[in-house]
Amino acid sequence: MSEIGKLALFLGFLCSCYAVGAFAVGLRTGMAGPLRSGRRAVWIVCGLTVLATIILVRALVARDFSYRYVAEHTSLDLPKMYAFSSLWAGQEGSLLLWLLILSAYGAVFLWAYRKRLDPFYDAVAMVVASVMVFFTSLLSFVSPPFRILATPPPDGNGLNPLLQDPGMMIHPPILYTGYVGFIIPFAFGIAVLIMNRSGTRWIEEVRRWTLFNWMFLGFGVLLGARWAYIELGWGGYWGWDPVENASLMPWLVGTAFLHSVMIEQRRGMLKTWNVVLIVLTFELSIFGTFLTRSGVLTSVHSFAESNIGPWFMAFILGSSTIATALILYRKALLESENRMDAVVSREGSFLFNNVLFVALAFATFLGTTFPILSEAVTGSKISVSAPFFNRVNVPIALVLLMLTGIGPVLSWKRATASVMKRNFIIPIFVGIVATLACLPFGLHGIYPIICVFGAAFVMSTVVMEFARGVQARKDIEPPATPAALLHLVQKNKRRYGGYIVHVGVVMIFVGVLGSSVFQKEAHAPLQPGQSMAIGPYALTLQKVEEKQILNATQTRAEVQVSRDGKRLTDMYPAKAMYTKSQQPMTEVALHQTAAEDLYLILGGVNEDGSASIQAYINPLVGFVWMGGIVMVIGTIICLADRMRLRREEKLLVSEEKLLAS
């Protein structure tokens, strides 16, 4: 079977090369045959990758230890579902997952545009196929997943215990769907340059693809944070780890693009800038994979270290050079008549929003890579971690939060003083009142104050926008009914979907603020029967017991929790010693409510029999997760808007009819 897998990947490589060649010939000569053949080759690569993945998954689930990858990442005592998810536990499997999603995107793209005979879409497919060449060659020659061991071991090394978590079953595929998906906007951008194609239709198509990928990437990032919260056991969820940063960077630049693309759609401006943002987003997503998989930087996530680094660097340098050369070559195509009515307008605020998003991505990039740079220059090792990013990124993010409130309520073209007064006086007032109201609860420090003010300010601008919209529809239906609100959103999905996304962003800011600034912590060694207090909670250790679970021995503390004297629940923080790795793993106990989480960790059992219990109260942390869900809902509403595309489609079809007649 392994031979078939190897062959599938090698044939995939050949087919990808063929697809690129066929598309190139077809586009150059205008012949339909090679283009059709190229499209088929992309389908075949997809089929071959599915076959290779099935073979590897089968081997993983069957624990066929003759496969080196299986022996390295699974063991006999590993539960079946984790045997399946160990597909993305190592480098080779992760790259295979990358290729699988990439080829699936290629196939979905061709399916979506199967009725379109415009060679422009073939040019897009050619770019996708070029990236396929890179990944199939990596999997065939550099990092093959189907290496066979001469003497298979009786049992495998087992899966890293950190990855034995249900979150890890869905986090990587969702994250990768976002990461890899940026290939489509990138391919559109490059195809526009190759084909010297003017017009704005492609930008609407790209916007939708980007929105889709952006949603997955954002959701994937939050799932990763949730995983860290539950699995790493340090009381937080975002540590500015290089791999976390790697996933954040393309998301930030993608967000900048999603805003500036609106200006191009409305005003035909910023064409070059938008192409630059698309290219940058894609390159950063490749860079993210490179960071995760090359092991260049020390990180809790870099489970696999290998020599694929130079290949990735070469690909990033090569593809960005080609993109830059194309942008320069097609300068005339991207020239636009940039004129604006006023600085204080939505366009103006979007431009500043772009500066901030890119600056935030730049700060993250610089901080993440600086240890290597510094070591190369000064010769001494340094760390750039959370204490740095909290000081540099947080102020930039807070200014962005303010812009989230300012931008959408400024009118396009020109915001008059009276409109600004009408739109801003109430939100500023609400912001001040909210800040004053929070002061008695211990709010202090300039960042938290700006954050509370900003959150209240943005929320009130959004609420006012909804209220104004409902009010404007009062002739059609009575205002302030849920139906009116629903119809309002239905009528203008892009606008109100966007506002809902902003509500999600505010919720995340509130959650981060609450869980960082107002976090409470206590720790104590407890003998059975002893209690400790944290906030309104009293924690009494009942007993400590040892339990054998599937592939680990668990030391579990039973803690009785009371709140304000009333018994609330029992919690079970534990430490698990996995048989294979012999590493102690923290298993957090969580009691979640809308207002706060009670987060318990068993530090260990001391020689005198006492258990070290570490407790955190994380206020409002649930807002981070809820905010993520609200953002996804908002994005789905934006994606549901097909009005503009339909209008264009109708126009195109009628023109085709006209010409045919």
Partner: protein
């Protein structure tokens, strides 16, 4: 109103506009950027735990790479114990941190000291943001001026450049449709 006075008025409005938008964005930015030391002590003061004020700024010296305050590995725990112990001996934050840096090297600091080559990492993000802002403001001013130079006629035919682009788009699209139909017939 003469054309000159309209231009003059528009230019004045532009400058006022740039200032207003810059002020809206810059005030929180300046407040935030000027407060790095405030936040550094804030997280500590918020928790009222001097040990955490030290450990939250350090990295566990083993290979786990975690921030020391939240580290659950054995090295991390013994280091946390060391910091608490030193504090109980009456040593200060600077003294304890300096001793740890002397033992493990600067790599133990969660953020590098803002000196020498490492100053770049502290300054570059803010300098880049400032340059970005200035550039954006200049570009905006130029675009608004260009619009103003088009005069009242330019304002009246606000959609002119777009219409030209749209026309080009129509021509292109027609050519594409023809090419597609040709392929369809093949």
């Amino acid at each position: 109103m003469t054309l000159v006075s309209i231009r003059h008025l528009t230019a004045r409005r532009t400058i006022r506009g740039v200032r207003l938008l810059a002020a809206l964005i810059a005030i929180p930015a300046i407040l935030a950027a000027s407060a790095p030391s405030a936040v550094a002590t804030e997280s500590a003061a918020g928790r009222k735990d001097p040990a955490r004020a030290i450990t939250s700024q350090l990295i566990c010296p083993c290979s786990c790479g975690e921030i020391l305050s939240g580290c659950t590995c054995e090295t991390g725990k013994s280091m946390q114990g060391y910091v608490t112990n030193e504090l109980s001996k009456g040593k200060g934050k600077e003294e304890i941190t300096a001793a740890l840096v002397a033992k493990y090297g600067e790599v133990i600091l969660g953020a590098p000291k803002a000196e020498g080559f490492n100053l770049i990492v502290w300054i570059a993000p803010f300098v880049a943001t400032a340059i970005g802002f200035v550039f954006a403001a200049l570009v905006l001013r130029r675009w608004v001026k260009r619009r103003a130079m088009a005069g009242p006629g330019g304002l009246a035919t606000a959609g002119a450049p777009l219409t030209a682009a749209a026309e080009q788009d129509q021509v292109d699209r027609r050519a594409r449709v023809e090419a597609e139909l040709k392929r369809l017939r093949e």
